[in-house]
Symmetry: C2
Amino acid sequence: MARENTTVLLAHGSGGSYSRRLIEEVFAKAFSNPLLAPLNDQAVFSLPAKKLAFTTDSYVVKPIFFPGGDIGKLSVCGTINDLAVGGAEPVYLSASFIIEEGLGMDELKRVVGSMAATARSAGVSIVTGDTKVVERGKGDKLFITTTGIGVVNGPELTPSNIRPGDAVIVSGTMGDHGVAIMTHREGIMMDAPVESDCAPLHTLTREIISAAPAGVRAMRDPTRGGLATVLNEFAASSGCSITIREDDLPVKEAVRGACEILGFDPLYLANEGKLVAVVSGEDAGKALSAMKAHPLGVDAAIIGFVTEAPKGKLLLETSIGNTRIIDMLSGEQLPRIC
Amino acid sequence: MARENTTVLLAHGSGGSYSRRLIEEVFAKAFSNPLLAPLNDQAVFSLPAKKLAFTTDSYVVKPIFFPGGDIGKLSVCGTINDLAVGGAEPVYLSASFIIEEGLGMDELKRVVGSMAATARSAGVSIVTGDTKVVERGKGDKLFITTTGIGVVNGPELTPSNIRPGDAVIVSGTMGDHGVAIMTHREGIMMDAPVESDCAPLHTLTREIISAAPAGVRAMRDPTRGGLATVLNEFAASSGCSITIREDDLPVKEAVRGACEILGFDPLYLANEGKLVAVVSGEDAGKALSAMKAHPLGVDAAIIGFVTEAPKGKLLLETSIGNTRIIDMLSGEQLPRIC
């Protein structure tokens, strides 16, 4: 072990001295914090709060580096966002790595560095983790599972709170992440490549809740399955009907163009730095202003409203004045988008 | 979707209607509990405690079904055990699944059923989760990442507490899990097949702490890398020396036999239902009695002691009376053992 390994070996997942060295020299160095430092199998901390939020996600995005981000940044942002849209302040993350034998050590370090930088700038700590290595051909470079704990101090947000008269607001343009991955993966050349919107949303959700503490019913980050899938879930959970207006939906020109060429619908495309909020009609203006004042919400828009019937359905008012029912994503649009 | 799918499809990872159906009909049904039921992206709960413990592990064991358990049971026990050996009572788990396209739906249901049964009998709830699907040949049937939260009410246990005069106790026979996986994987026929010891240890750790609250310094479950690796980490963290006696180490005859044939050393083999505890010399007898009175500790034995020097080293007194230094596992003994 005098020379440094340039790729990840099966031995790095053995639990023995190679594992120890990988943990100390790659993970512990990058994520450096007092809770992780003892390298015990568990982190122990005090976290006084009336309520805690707990969420997990595995990331299998392909390729692991893409315009606007990488699997590491995505894995930290995604878990922060799942806490944030539940009204929680993210505090601690765990990170578990399933590495395919042969992954370049430089690639791993780049991903881990990206996770560390994202976590640090978001004010969260990665306090515990695990690493497994599988044989060549039994994985695909790198899968990461991040789990987060947050504290809930304000109202608990849940789609069952949604009621008729509420407004539907998105924090920005839809479909950027999906198009960024798809065009990059397929090698499609664009004049101005679309970048993933991958970003942590917890400071945005904080502003929204602070602007309209009693008015926010539910928030969600429309990732896999896109906005149409989230709003279908909201309609189903609340037993209400949701109507959105095609003309009011913010979509970048480049994303619209790529969708037309490739036959995708921005309503079903994944986003990784956007949220949809349902807010009381009364407070919708305050929530919208709070979003627009935040760097991640400048393109925010009210795109629809909640009514009583048809129960559990999502409707789209199209540009030409028709209204049609929009279902959840059915089948597979884009595998391994996150 | 009128007919039920017999295998997992890429669409089951899409985030859309196939994902929803998989979550509702497989995961939510098996794990059924009030925190999971809303199927939000995060679970929210109150957990009043002075201190919390947080741990994560990915499971990539191959094959996914083996004598004495399966990847599902292993993933629940392993995370419970990482909390338990830190002195925590396990409370909530998350579970994230990375499934290879084509996995039999019946296999998935069997694993999930096993997780649910193990969690229920251990008194923990699986309250949040995620599912991703990767293409055929980009995974290997099923990888599971479980993350656990526990409450620490008693002393916080950490290897840096270990000091000269302490005793080293194991809760039972070493190497059962490693030999069970290895012989099963290689198709080696044995008169009496060795079963994995896979079991949740939190009631055993509770008894140990209760019997010797001030005497327990540190506990660890010797999984990957085995007992030798854990005791090397203990020696390094505490700056003490640890000596164990070969003759006192409990090893099943069948395990010893398999090790001799295959060239493995029980000191480096993985265990999934055993722990090693370092306890003050004064309290060692009480801790040993508490272990022996528990169904998972009937073969418990005091196997060694802690001294001042040689600092950071693990020594083995062999059956023939020699003493030699035992290193951490170096290289790879058995890939994908857990």
